[in-house]
């Protein structure tokens, strides 16, 4: 059946309001969007790494989770969810569990690109039937906007500040999705929040109902760290996609497919301008930074198009 946002939005919420995430934060939007893709009657067991999402959604004795939920530590959500999935498999074989459970891990970019990378790589290699969702907000927001390996070049973050001799972060953003694809994973995709959430929904559904490991990298902006107005969340996401900073694509059993091609590729300034973390790139004499960023994005986009042919 064709995707219908109205219909999807009437489903019972699996992640409910009352949590303490900021207005305009992408984390909660990502979780709701992914969980909506669960089919009726299916249950899920969600694991969350220590992050904004975790400390905002399960403060004892209140939880926003209508699904089974486990948090253990920062760097181990993949191993945690893998352990749950292994136990489910064993107990199911022994006839101790009747329901169908799906296993989903959520973590930010710090918990995925950096400290949780080993645990994630191991879980994918072992082939657990689980989905790993990275809500990528490009810095350690929970601890106060520190640099991660996902932070893009020139972004100003609290451990790569703009100074009299340094222009913010000096290194490029790690291309994690491609690193995950290199694991020969059955399904991997990049997505974000676009108009009616169709892209996120369809990719989440594929990821959840693919046998074996699946990976979703969801660009999930942070109004505090990126310094945009909370109501502009969707606009920021759209600009990320239309400037090709965050291309939407999926890789199914090694086959690359672009899931959205901008009608008109916008200049990178359109994406950078509304965000305070890039404001120094628009100062007089900083034109080289914009040029550098544009050149890099153009190159990456061309490479991606070749892969998706």
């Amino acid at each position: 059946m064709a995707y219908n946002l109205k219909k999807e939005a009437t489903k019972p919420e699996r992640f409910v309001g009352g949590h303490r995430l900021c207005a305009g934060c992408g984390a909660g939007v990502a979780v709701r969007g992914v969980l909506r893709a669960l089919e009726e009657g299916d249950r899920s067991c969600c694991g969350v790494a220590t992050c904004c999402l975790e400390v905002s959604s399960f403060l004892y004795p209140f939880t926003a989770w209508q699904e089974s939920f486990i948090h253990s530590a920062f760097e181990n959500v993949a191993a945690t969810v893998a352990g749950a999935e292994a136990c489910y498999t064993a107990m199911k074989k022994k006839g101790k569990i009747k329901d169908t459970y799906k296993f989903i891990a959520f973590a930010g970019d710090g918990g995925t690109y950096d400290i949780g990378f080993q645990s994630l790589s191991g879980a994918i290699e072992r082939g657990h039937d689980m989905v790993y969702v990275c809500y990528d907000n490009e810095a350690y927001m929970n601890t106060g906007i520190q640099r991660s390996s996902s932070t893009p070049k020139f972004a100003e973050v609290s451990t790569a500040p703009v100074g009299s001799i340094l222009p913010g972060k000096m290194q490029r953003k790690k291309n994690l999705t491609e690193a995950i694809v290199a694991h020969d994973i059955p399904y991997a995709a990049q997505t974000t929040f676009m108009s009616n959430f169709k892209d996120l929904h369809e990719k989440a559904h594929k990821a959840i109902y693919t046998t074996g490991p699946a990976f979703l990298n969801v660009l999930a902006p942070c109004p505090r760290g990126w310094r945009y107005e909370p109501e502009d969340l969707m606009e920021i996401c759209k600009l990320a996609v239309d400037t090709c900073v965050w291309p939407l694509y999926e890789v199914v059993e090694g086959e690359w497919r672009l899931t959205y091609e901008p009608k008109k590729k916008l200049p990178i300034e359109d994406y950078l301008k509304p965000q305070g973390r890039f404001s120094h790139m628009f100062a007089k004499g900083a034109e080289w930074m914009i040029e550098d960023a544009q050149k890099y994005i153009d190159k990456k986009w061309e490479q991606l198009l070749k892969k998706c042919k």
């Binding site: 989770w65 939920f69 253990s72 191993a79 893998a82 352990g83 749950a84 022994k94």
Partner: protein
């Protein structure tokens, strides 16, 4: 009917874990515990275990997977040594703080640096305050028995704490000795079904692992501490029941020739055998010497130890780990504290011994008993923080 076998300590542990019929074993190789998952994976490969064997990419992930599996209502265990246990550190506290009865076989080995693969107790002693019950094992039989009993202790409603079962790397983990195994059905019956009050996969969704604000953290920490204190009774009950089943009677610690002893050694794991040998030799000469072999180090049997030492003139506490507190090893400071309220306190000295696999010889134990004679004669302990078996001392 008991089964007579010949197994190494590692094989014995793997056998116990198979008979327990774990749902999940997640493990990562590290010497000298590696054989435990090796033997276990063979059981799985031969279709003899209904367990998901998860060959994780680190000990951190091993403990993480076990924690989640137990939260799912399953039984899960892992085995490790030394640096592997150190890498699990963070999760040890998560397991006990979440009140999940994970079980762990620790094959004791020294911690780096310098790197050394041989036995001492620096790994498990470092984890003594992590909220895990710690059982120590002199030989393969005790390791096997402790591993089976650990399930009942950990899962008891009044406890709900993880348990680590320790034995000496190489010395008992690799030495093949006679052993009496229980039949599979006897183990199944003894441990029963795991029936936790909640689980992630029981139908009704639950949330596990919250952020605790200052309004709640302290209460949860207090509950964990009370559970540890209360576990002593459960441990004794389980020991008693196991004794009735097997004829092997266990206590919080074993007293050897202590009834009229004036000098005593406190020791744990394999070196207890060496100490027993010297003890017998001295007893043959009419010397009033004895041994206390600790089985349960966490919870610490404070009152019972104080009572057992109340008539002793001098005690040497043997630590196969240094705490670098500059006042003695971890067993020593606890034993010394236990004796504080005694009306007539024995003199207490500490010996750090056997670090990094240094051989523990009969003459080392003789030296310790001799030193105790000198303490009794002098009427004061002199230097309390001592080392035996190290060159130049």
């Amino acid at each position: 009917m008991a089964i007579r076998e010949r197994l190494s300590g590692n094989e014995a542990v793997a056998m116990a874990l198979k008979q327990i019929d774990l749902d999940v074993m997640a493990a990562y190789p590290i010497t000298p515990s590696t054989e435990v998952p090796q033997y276990f994976s063979q059981f799985v490969a031969d279709g003899k275990a209904g367990t998901e064997f998860v060959a994780v990419e680190s000990e951190h992930s091993a403990m993480s997977a076990c924690i989640a599996a137990v939260a799912c209502g399953g039984r899960a265990a892992t085995a490790t040594s030394a640096c592997g246990l150190a890498l699990m550190w963070e999760l040890l506290y998560v397991a006990s703080g979440t009140r999940l009865p994970v079980t762990l076989a620790v094959i004791n080995r020294s911690l780096s640096a310098p790197i050394n693969i041989n036995n001492d107790h620096s790994d498990s002693m470092g984890a003594r305050d992590s909220g895990w019950i710690q059982l120590y094992s002199e030989n393969n039989q005790e390791a096997y028995d402790n591993q089976i009993m650990s399930i009942r202790i950990a899962e008891h409603k009044d406890v709900m704490l993880p348990v680590m079962v320790c034995q000496d790397g190489f010395i008992t983990s690799h030495a093949i000795e006679n052993i009496e195994l229980l039949e599979d059905e006897a183990v199944t019956k003894f441990i029963g079904e795991y029936a936790p009050d909640w689980s992630l996969l029981a139908g009704n969704p639950v949330s596990v692992g919250p952020l605790d604000t200052p309004q709640f953290y302290f209460e949860h920490a207090y509950q964990r501490a009370r559970a540890m204190a209360g576990s002593k009774k459960v441990i004794l009950d389980v020991f008693k029941e196991f004794g009735e089943l097997t004829g092997r009677k266990y206590e919080l610690f074993e007293q050897y020739r202590m009834e009229d002893a004036e000098r005593a050694i406190i020791i744990l794991n394999s070196s207890a055998g060496t100490a027993r040998c010297v003890c017998d030799e001295l007893r043959d000469r009419g010397e009033k010497v004895g041994i206390i072999k600790l089985r349960v180090f966490r919870p610490f049997p404070m009152e019972e130890l104080a009572e057992a030492l109340s008539h002793v003139k001098a005690v040497a506490v043997m630590d196969k780990a240094d705490s670098f507190s500059a006042i003695g090893g971890p067993v020593f400071t606890d034993v010394r504290s236990a004796c504080y309220d005694l009306e007539k306190r024995p003199h207490l000295i500490n010996y750090i011994y056997g670090l990094g696999g240094r051989d523990v010889r009969l003459e080392d134990i003789r030296l310790v008993y001799n030193a105790l004679s000198e303490v009794v004669e002098a009427g004061k302990p002199g230097e309390i923080y001592r080392h035996v078996g190290v060159r130049g001392v």
